[in-house]
């Protein structure tokens, strides 16, 4: 392992473009811009800006941390796709970190982590002290209101990039030599798609 691993983390899962550069245990540069659209055009220039601010180059990175949602589907794909491209071209791992985990990084566990899922629903995950977390799920506002115990969210997030970087760093340490899976979007909600309304006719011999 390198003496001071350098991790670039970024997230576009909500109405922002966020990036943070972590050196060892210190965040040495960040960039955060609120934006409802245009993340696909803004993300890479913002990352280059953050690297330049710290005086480092792409090839100096030891890993990528990327926000995998839940959140805006297209926004999640913007970051995850870029992270996969970067990981391949730099020959370094990309580590996917969920927003549910990122926003709860400093919260005392056990805790319910909640994120607004719109349409009167919330994404929810129960995070345990030992890291043996429940799978995240989609709850109605009513179900979420009835949850027992401490909670973080649904609007605590702010800039998630520093937390994503720190969690990614801890994963690398933990993973040691085990392979790190490629980052994959955490959608939770299934794609809106219905089978065709008009059934096929009965076919006679």
């Amino acid at each position: 392992m390198q003496h001071n691993p350098l991790i670039l983390a970024f997230d576009t899962s909500a109405a922002h473009c966020a990036a943070a550069l972590l050196s060892g245990d210190k965040v040495i540069a960040t960039g955060f811009e609120e934006m409802a659209r245009g993340q696909a055009e803004r993300l890479m220039p913002l990352l280059e800006q953050v690297l330049a601010e710290a005086g480092v180059a792409w090839k100096d990175l030891s890993a990528i941390g990327v926000g995998i949602g839940p959140g805006n589907f297209t926004g999640i794909r913007i970051s995850v796709s870029a992270a996969r491209g970067l990981a391949l071209s730099l020959g370094i791992p990309a580590i996917g970190v969920s927003s549910l985990e990122a926003q709860a990084i400093d919260a005392a566990r056990p805790v319910w982590s909640l994120i607004d899922a719109r349409r009167d629903h919330l994404y929810a995950q129960y995070l345990r002290p030992n890291g043996d977390d429940e799978a995240p799920s989609l709850l109605s506002a009513r179900e979420a209101a009835a949850l027992d115990g401490a909670r973080v969210g649904p609007d605590a997030l702010g800039d998630p990039a520093p937390a994503i970087a720190r969690i990614a760093a801890s994963r690398i340490t933990k993973a040691a030599k085990a392979p790190i899976p490629r980052p994959a979007p955490l959608y939770i909600r299934t794609a809106d798609a219905a089978p065709p309304r008009d059934p096929a006719p009965l076919i006679l011999p």
Binding site: S89, P195, D198, P201, L202
Partner: protein, 365 residues
């Protein structure tokens, strides 16, 4: 420029995730060093059509894997390449965004230039990849999402002579298959069923043949087919195999007739340019249909024009055509930066008036 250029191409604008490496040395034939395609037919099978969100999800998790595979098959590293070409539109925007962002990540990390390619230019320039067709040539782009006649005068110079004002033929084949209980994709299943059918039993309309010009319409044909199907089902309590075969044959004959007649008109206009070696090339998945291909071939024979039909794997969506179109742009000195935008709509001929979707997002084609 005499330098050898090797580009990686990425394609994710519809339901095929693809990556390819193409190399070209001036004076030599272009070489497709690898061409990897991961289809999604099974993912969409239950829905009777492509679901954009399902397509986007698959692209985002497959693209980098296809790129790795394409590099392995070409036996090259990213550092051996001269640039990265990616489809930047038109198409289903979720997939296009995933492709553009993956390409940006690849370009940033490797330090290679990024080249955004119009998906339609990829199809339209394929005759130069496969047959070194000299400009100007006529191209009929006929697929599940597009149908238009273009005169290709240069790598970035296209004149549209006409196109569909509603459905694309590939879409009509898919809908026909769906209406008749045949599997998707509709092209091969309708063609297979039509083999035993009588193309003359049902008189389906040939829309817009009575009007001058090269514009086409296919939505009325689908409605006529639905009406015949419903009549047959009401009469027999279901659709008989033989009736279904006749419906398929009649539908296919109507599409072939329209494409042939409009090709005749497009050729006449194109030949006014007095091209040195006149050629009509087809591109798009519908070019796989043998009845349609035969009809176009005989139109070309009548007009003394060479008929070019690229191999099927290069007619349907693929990334080799994107890498090739990227090479043409690269040689012209064109590069994109990290603000390259994914565009759902991006007509090849920017001058011609919009035919489809002239809403606030601009013309689709």
């Amino acid at each position: 420029m005499t330098k050898t250029v090797t580009l990686l191409g990425l394609e994710s604008s519809c339901d095929d995730t693809a990556a390819a490496v193409v190399r070209h040395t001036p004076g030599a034939l272009p070489e497709i060093l690898s061409s990897v395609i991961a289809g999604q037919t099974d993912l969409h099978a239950d829905f009777g059509g492509i679901v954009p969100e399902i397509a986007a999800r698959a692209h985002a998790e497959k693209l980098d894997i296809c790129v790795e595979e394409a590099l392995i098959q070409a036996n090259l590293h990213l550092s051996d390449l001269d640039g990265i070409a990616v489809t930047a539109g038109p198409g289903l925007i979720g997939g296009v965004v995933a492709g553009v962002m993956c390409a940006k990540g690849l370009a940033a990390g490797s330090g290679l230039p990024l080249i955004g390619v119009n998906h339609l230019a990829g199809h339209a320039l394929t005759p130069r990849l496969t047959d070194q067709a000299p400009f100007p040539y006529l191209i009929l782009l006929v697929s599940g999402g597009h149908c238009q006649f273009l005169i290709a005068k240069g790598p970035d110079d296209f004149t549209r002579l006409g196109g569909t004002i509603d459905d694309a033929p590939g879409e009509a084949f898919d809908k026909t298959a769906k209406l008749l209980g045949l599997p998707q994709p509709g092209g091969p299943s309708v063609e297979g069923e039509a083999k035993t059918g009588d193309p003359n039993r049902f008189k389906f309309p040939r829309p817009l043949l009575d009007r001058p010009g090269c514009d086409m319409s296919f939505s009325g044909l689908k409605t006529a087919l639905l009406r015949e199907r419903d009549r047959l089902v009401a009469e027999h309590g279901g659709l008989r195999h033989a009736d279904r075969a006749d419906l398929c044959a009649g539908f296919q004959a109507a599409v072939a007739d329209v494409l042939a007649e409009k090709s005749r008109r497009a050729l006449a206009k194109y030949l006014q340019l007095s091209p040195g070696t006149p050629a009509l090339s087809v591109a798009g998945g519908v070019a796989a249909n043998m009845t349609i291909r035969g009809a176009l071939e005989s139109v070309c024979d009548d007009a003394g024009t060479t008929f070019l039909a690229p191999p099927l794997a290069l007619c349907t969506d693929n990334a080799a055509m994107i890498a090739w179109a990227g090479i043409e742009r690269f040689r012209a000195g064109e590069r994109d930066d990290m603000t390259l935008q994914a565009r759902p709509r991006w007509p090849l001929d920017q001058q011609a008036p919009a035919m489809l979707g002239s809403g606030k997002k601009g013309a689709k084609a």
